[in-house]
């Protein structure tokens, strides 16, 4: 009975360790894939924000670009197109997940967004001349039970839904796209928030960004390469952090296995001695004890995988998709292998010392 309790506690120890590995790892994987989506979107563009704003990675809050500046960018040599936009967050409603993003773009620029993986699922895109028409994200449509021809209200103005964007698994799923001028009107905005600059020659994107920086002191120009660098630095930090925390948890679990197996070998010293006396070889004893230890850890690992998986799913559920967590096959296999490795390493010393027991002495032991 005492032995059973101890084994159960050991399994729980491994369970917690592996669940931590899986849950934290899945968050890290989820963030990676989210960032990859963003990267795909930003590829080949230069992001403009005004100096002193919160920067691209934080959504460019507080950034302002005057219409006059925009014209200057458009005239700059090497610039093919400038795509300005404004963005606002919708009202926070408790229990309905994250608020929607309201994005204003020029209807003429819709092709720029389409070419970056935001295709129309049904209806049409916004078109030249549209004013109180809107394009909405897949998730937003579903959550609010909206279809083509329905109307939504933004800032006490009604907009007709003309199209729904296909599912992208990014924040666009929960967005409302409005014609830029109408949105600036409704929100009483004077200036653009930020803009994408598309170079004429993609291979010279870095030169263009440098030239722009030299010419306009009041703005920051960030290429997708810069963002990749920043993001991968952040990703590395997150990975190291999550790996560190979860490894500590798992190693503590492994020490639990070792402790349990040492106790169990001590308790069974006489049994092991008898087995050796009747002819069990060192290898036989070693294999038996190691097998036991690995099985305990494997069970803990499987349970940890389940608990970690449920944890990572609930995180996605609670945050309504804002925080993404992905349990990949690699992560699951890695977590289980780690559990087995812990069982093996934790069980090796006790197994080895058991295999070396002197049968005469062990039998005398009461």
């Amino acid at each position: 009975m005492r032995q059973r309790t101890r084994t159960l506690l050991t399994i729980i120890g491994i369970l917690i360790g592996i669940a931590a590995v899986i849950a934290l790892g899945s968050i890290s994987e989820g963030m990676k894939s989210m960032m990859n989506e963003e990267m795909q979107f930003l590829g080949g563009t230069i992001m403009v924000t005004s100096t002193g704003s919160s920067g691209i990675l934080m959504g460019g809050g507080g950034s302002e670009i005057l219409k006059y500046d925009l014209a200057n960018f458009e005239d700059f040599s090497g610039v093919k197109q400038v795509v300005p936009y404004v963005m606002k967050m919708g009202e926070i409603r408790i229990g309905q997940g994250p608020p929607e993003e309201i994005i204003g773009i020029r209807p003429d620029d819709i092709d720029f967004f389409k070419s970056r993986g935001t295709d129309i699922d049904s209806g049409r895109g916004v078109e030249s001349g549209d004013t109180y028409q809107t394009l909405i994200g897949y998730q937003y449509a579903e959550n609010n039970d909206l279809g083509i021809g329905d109307t939504i209200e933004v800032k006490r103005s009604s907009f007709e839904v003309v199209g729904i964007i296909e599912k992208t698994d990014s924040n666009i799923d929960n967005a409302i796209i409005l014609p830029l001028d109408t949105m600036m009107d409704v929100y009483n905005m004077e200036n653009y928030q930020s803009a994408f600059i598309i170079p004429e020659d993609l291979s010279r994107i870095q030169d263009l960004a440098d030239n722009l920086k030299d010419s306009f002191d009041d703005f920051e120009f960030t290429t997708s390469n810069d963002i990749v660098k920043q993001m991968s630095r952040i990703m590395d930090m997150i990975s190291i952090f999550t790996l560190g925390i979860s490894s500590i948890a798992a190693i503590v679990g492994g020490l639990g296995v070792m402790n349990t197996m040492i106790m169990s070998v001590l308790e069974r010293k006489r049994e092991i001695g008898i087995m050796k006396a009747v002819g069990a070889t060192k290898k036989y004893i070693l294999t038996q004890i190691l097998l036991e230890s690995v099985i305990i850890s494997f069970i803990g690992g499987i349970l940890g995988l389940l608990v970690g998986g449920v944890g990572s799913y609930s995180l996605r559920f609670i945050s309504s998709g804002l925080a993404d967590a992905k349990v990949t096959i690699n992560l699951a296999v890695g977590g289980l292998s780690f559990a087995v490795l812990l069982g093996f390493v934790g069980g090796f010393y006790p197994a080895w010392s058991a295999s070396k027991l002197d049968p005469i002495e062990a039998i005398r032991f009461e």
Binding site: R270, E271, I274, M275, K276, A277, V278, G279, A280, T281, K282, K283, Y284, P359, I360, I363
Partner: protein
């Protein structure tokens, strides 16, 4: 008759070369033939248990040679010795030394499992052996549910599991009352008559007087009955 065990100038010294050096066995020469029943007796400290451990390959002699079935085993590695114990030696101990978490049947199966014999074969043979020692009714009982005499019969069945060359018994009746002791001794005699070879360390005069070949030890030397 052929010799299955031969000891040549066996010597056992504990703490060799240290100030507390202790010579337990001194120049032991002994031959045991197939089908014999031999008792080793002598006062405590005479070295009879050590001699039994050496014959049983649980311990190594400091000097001299031990042959089992004609093979010199005195210099073999631990694992080779384990295989000799597994395949050629059966042990019966004073303390029975059954595994408490195993049933009678599982205790008898254990040496065969250690030898990687297949499950069904193990079970079948263990059942036969328990029948042979009159414990068919007690197969699924754990050691703490058995009497001393019954436990020793399980131990005898276990000793026979891998068809050993010789069965070594260390005070097999030492923990039993005289009635149970006699039953165990009668069982060993019955097995001896079926051809099993026994070497028994004992104080029990009832056993000693019934066995033809008696070897007396004193201070690590054979002093009589060679």
């Amino acid at each position: 008759m052929n010799e299955i065990i031969k000891l040549e100038n066996i010597e056992k010294v504990y703490n060799l070369g240290k100030h507390n050096e202790l010579k337990v066995l001194d120049d032991i020469n002994l031959k045991i033939k197939k089908g014999e029943m031999v008792t080793l007796f002598g006062p405590s400290g005479s070295g009879k248990s050590t001699l039994l451990h050496i014959i049983g390959c649980l311990d190594r002699p400091t000097k001299g040679k031990l042959y089992i079935d004609g093979e010199d085993v005195s210099k073999l590695s631990d694992d080779k010795l384990a295989l000799i114990r597994r395949n050629r030696i059966g042990f019966i101990f004073q303390q029975f030394n059954l595994i408490n978490i195993f049933t009678a049947l599982e205790n008898v199966e254990m040496p065969m499992k250690v030898a990687n014999i297949n499950k069904n074969k193990c079970r079948k043979r263990a059942e036969e052996l328990l029948k042979l020692v009159n414990l068919s009714e007690r197969m699924d009982h754990f050691p703490n549910e058995l009497s001393g005499g019954e436990m020793q019969r399980v131990a005898i069945a276990r000793a026979l599991a891998n068809e050993p060359t010789v069965i070594l018994a260390d005070e097999p009746t030492g923990n039993l009352d005289s009635k149970n002791g006699k039953e165990i001794f009668d069982l060993m005699c019955k097995l001896n008559s079926k051809g099993y070879t026994f070497v028994i360390v004992t104080h029990d005069s009832n056993i000693a007087k019934c066995v033809k070949r008696k070897i007396s030890l004193k201070d690590g030397k054979i002093v009589g009955g060679n």
